[in-house]
C-alpha cells in the first residue's frame, strides 16, 4: 500500500508471492502453492532445470500469464496493478524484439508505453544505447542485429524505464564471455544503487558470484533457499554445482527432511 505522501513503506518486499498456483490449459501444473519473498535491494538467484517453473513464476510477476490461484505483490502492490507493472523490468529468456523497429525505436517505444515523455524516452534511450555499446547500430532494425547485440538490446529495454525490480531470465544464454562480463558489471552497478535483481541462470558459477541469496526450484516447488555458502553447508557440498546436482537429482531437500 502507498501512504498518504505517496511513499511505499520500506518494509514492503520487492516481491512477495503467496500460494501461487499455475495450471495451464493442458492440465500441466507449473507451480503449486508457491511462496517466495525477495526483500528490496537484494540480488536474488532462482535456479532449477528447464520446466521447473522459473519462467512461469516470472510471467506471473510480469502479468504475462493468468494465474490459477494465489497472490503476487510487487513492493506491496498487487502484481497486476499499473503501479506494480511500472516498477518491473523484464529481460525475457527468448529474444522477443519488434522486427519493425530499429534499436533506438525499440527503446523509445518501450519507454512510451511505460509512460515516459518523448523527450525523456529519447534521452534515456541514448543513455542505454551508450551503456550497452549499441551506438553504431542505433538505426538498424532488430532482425539485422547479431545475437549478442539483440541480447544487449533486450537488457537495455528491460532497464529503459528505470525499474525498481529487474527480472533477468537467463540473460547470458548464448552470450560470449566478454559480453557476459560487461553485462554483469553493469548489473552489479545497478544493484549497488539499490535496484532489486531477480536472476535465473544455468551458469551456477555466475549465480554463486553474483547472488546474495539463491532459491532452488524443482517441479514447481521451492526446495531450498539460502546464501550460496548456506546451501553448500546444508547439502554438505563443496560447490553450488554439487548442491544443484544433489538437490535436483539425488537428495530430498534437507529442510524438508528436517521438517518431516
Amino acid at each position: 500500500m502507498i501512504d498518504s505522501l505517496g511513499r511505499v513503506p520500506v518494509s514492503a518486499p520487492a516481491l512477495d508471492v503467496r500460494r501461487l498456483t499455475k495450471r495451464y490449459d493442458d492440465g500441466t501444473v507449473a507451480l503449486e502453492d508457491f511462496d517466495l519473498t525477495i526483500p528490496e535491494g537484494m540480488f536474488f538467484g532462482l535456479l532449477g532445470p528447464n520446466g521447473a517453473g522459473k519462467t512461469t513464476l516470472i510471467n506471473a510477476v510480469c502479468n504475462l500469464i493468468r494465474i490459477t490461484a494465489g497472490d503476487v505483490r510487487v513492493f506491496g502492490e498487487p502484481g497486476s496493478s499499473l503501479l506494480a507493472r511500472s516498477w518491473v523490468g523484464l529481460a525475457e529468456q527468448d529474444i522477443n524484439l519488434d522486427r519493425f523497429l530499429t534499436v533506438e525505436e525499440t527503446l523509445v517505444y518501450h519507454g512510451g508505453w511505460f509512460g515516459m515523455t518523448k523527450h525523456d524516452a529519447e534521452r534515456r534511450a541514448a543513455e542505454m544505447i551508450d551503456v550497452f555499446d549499441l551506438r553504431a547500430k542505433s538505426d538498424v532494425r532488430t532482425p539485422k542485429l547479431s545475437g549478442g547485440m539483440r541480447r544487449r538490446l533486450l537488457l537495455a529495454r528491460a532497464l529503459m524505464h528505470r525499474p525498481r525490480l529487474v527480472i533477468l531470465d537467463e540473460p547470458t544464454a548464448s552470450v560470449d564471455f566478454e559480453l557476459r562480463q560487461e553485462l554483469w558489471r553493469y548489473i552489479r552497478r545497478l544493484h549497488e544503487k539499490g535496484t532489486t535483481i531477480l536472476l535465473t541462470t544455468h551458469y551456477l558459477e555466475e549465480a554463486e558470484a553474483l547472488c546474495e541469496e539463491i532459491a532452488l526450484i524443482r517441479a514447481g516447488r521451492l526446495i531450498a533457499r539460502d546464501t550460496a555458502s548456506g546451501l553448500r553447508r546444508a547439502y554438505t557440498a563443496d560447490s553450488l554445482t554439487e548442491v544443484y546436482v544433489k538437490a535436483m537429482h539425488e537428495q530430498p531437500c534437507p529442510v524438508e527432511e528436517a521438517a518431516a
Binding site: 495451464y24 490449459d25 510471467n59 510480469c62 502479468n63 504475462l64 500469464i65 493468468r66 499499473l82 503501479l83 507493472r85 511500472s86 516498477w87 518491473v88 523484464l90 525475457e92 527468448d94 522477443n96 524484439l97 519488434d98 522486427r99 519493425f100 523497429l101 525505436e105 517505444y109 518501450h110 512510451g112 508505453w113 511505460f114 509512460g115 515516459m116 515523455t117 525523456d120 529495454r157 524505464h161 528505470r162 525499474p163 525498481r164 544503487k193 539499490g194 535496484t195
Partner: protein, 260 residues
C-alpha cells in the same frame, strides 16, 4: 534512482497507436499504395470498360456507381488485414509481451492496436477517393452519413482483425478469414451491381450479408441513394461493430489467448 512514470494519462495508448501507425508508414508501398493502385485498376477496367454496356444503375453512370463499393472493399480489407497480421506477428514473435507487461489499461491496448488498422484504411480510402472522384466525377452527397458508416465499418473490421490476430495459430488462419469469408461477402455485397436487380432468392439472400449494409451505407454517403434504407444500413453495421469491438476488448481484459 527509479523514476516515477506517468500512469494516469494516455501516453502508453498514444505510443502504441503511433507504433501501429509507424508500421504502416514503414511499409507504405505495400500497406497503402498497393491497395490504392489495385482498386484504381478496378475502377478503370470495370468502370470504363463496362460503362459502354451498363449505361446507368439507379440513375448513375456505372463508373460512378462502383466507386463507393470499391472504396469500402479496399478499406475493410486493409483494416482487417492490418490488425490481424500486426497482432498475430506480435504474438508469434512474442514482442506483444512488452505491451502486455506495460502499465497500460486493457482498453488502451485494445484501442491502440485498433487505431493502426483504422488509420491505414482511412489513408487508403482518402487516397482512392482522391483518384476516383476526379476520374469518375462521383459526388459526395451525404457526408454526414458517410462519416458514421465509415466509422462503424472500420470499427467492425479493425476489431475483427484484432480478434483473428489473437485467435490465429498460424498465418494461414488470417488469410483464410480474408479470402474465404471477407472477400466473397464483399463481392456479393453489391459492390459491382445493385442488389435490387437480383432475382429471388439472391435478392433476399443478399440481405443476410452484413457487408451489403455497409456498402449500402457508404454508397448512400456518396450518391445519396442505395439499395437499403440508410438507417437500417448504418444500424446493422453499428450492431455488428460494437459487439466485435467489445469481443476484442474482452480478450485484452481477460487475457484469453494472449496470456497462457
Amino acid at each position: 534512482m527509479s523514476q516515477t512514470v506517468s500512469l494516469t494519462g494516455n501516453r502508453g495508448l498514444l505510443w502504441l497507436a503511433r507504433r501501429e501507425t509507424l508500421r504502416v508508414w514503414k511499409l507504405w508501398t505495400q500497406t497503402v499504395l498497393a491497395p490504392i493502385v489495385a482498386s484504381s485498376l478496378f475502377i478503370v477496367v470495370f468502370g470504363f470498360s463496362l460503362s459502354g454496356r451498363i449505361r446507368h444503375i439507379d440513375g448513375f453512370p456505372y463508373r460512378e456507381f462502383i466507386v463507393p463499393g470499391l472504396i469500402t472493399m479496399a478499406m475493410v480489407q486493409a483494416a482487417y488485414s492490418n490488425n490481424s497480421s500486426s497482432v498475430f506477428q506480435a504474438r508469434s514473435d512474442r514482442y506483444i509481451n512488452d505491451v502486455l507487461s506495460a502499465p497500460m489499461r486493457s482498453w488502451q491496448m485494445n484501442l491502440g492496436y485498433n487505431i493502426g488498422g483504422v488509420l491505414r484504411a482511412l489513408a487508403i480510402g482518402a487516397g482512392l477517393a482522391a483518384v476516383a472522384v476526379p476520374i469518375t466525377g462521383v459526388p459526395v452527397r451525404e457526408p454526414l452519413v458517410l462519416v458514421p458508416a465509415v466509422a462503424f465499418g472500420l470499427m467492425l473490421f479493425s476489431a475483427l482483425g484484432t480478434i483473428v490476430g489473437i485467435y490465429a495459430e498460424t498465418f494461414d488462419h488470417h488469410t483464410f478469414v480474408n479470402n474465404i469469408v471477407i472477400l466473397p461477402l464483399v463481392f456479393v455485397g453489391g459492390v459491382f451491381y445493385s442488389v435490387s436487380r437480383l432475382p429471388s432468392p439472391w435478392h433476399e439472400l443478399s440481405h443476410v450479408n452484413p457487408i451489403f449494409y455497409l456498402v449500402s451505407a457508404v454508397r448512400y454517403g456518396f450518391l445519396g441513394t442505395a439499395d437499403a434504407s440508410v438507417a437500417l444500413s448504418v444500424g446493422v453495421t453499428a450492431a455488428l461493430a460494437i459487439p466485435a469491438y467489445l469481443w476484442a476488448q474482452w480478450l485484452f481484459t481477460s487475457g484469453r489467448k494472449l496470456k497462457a
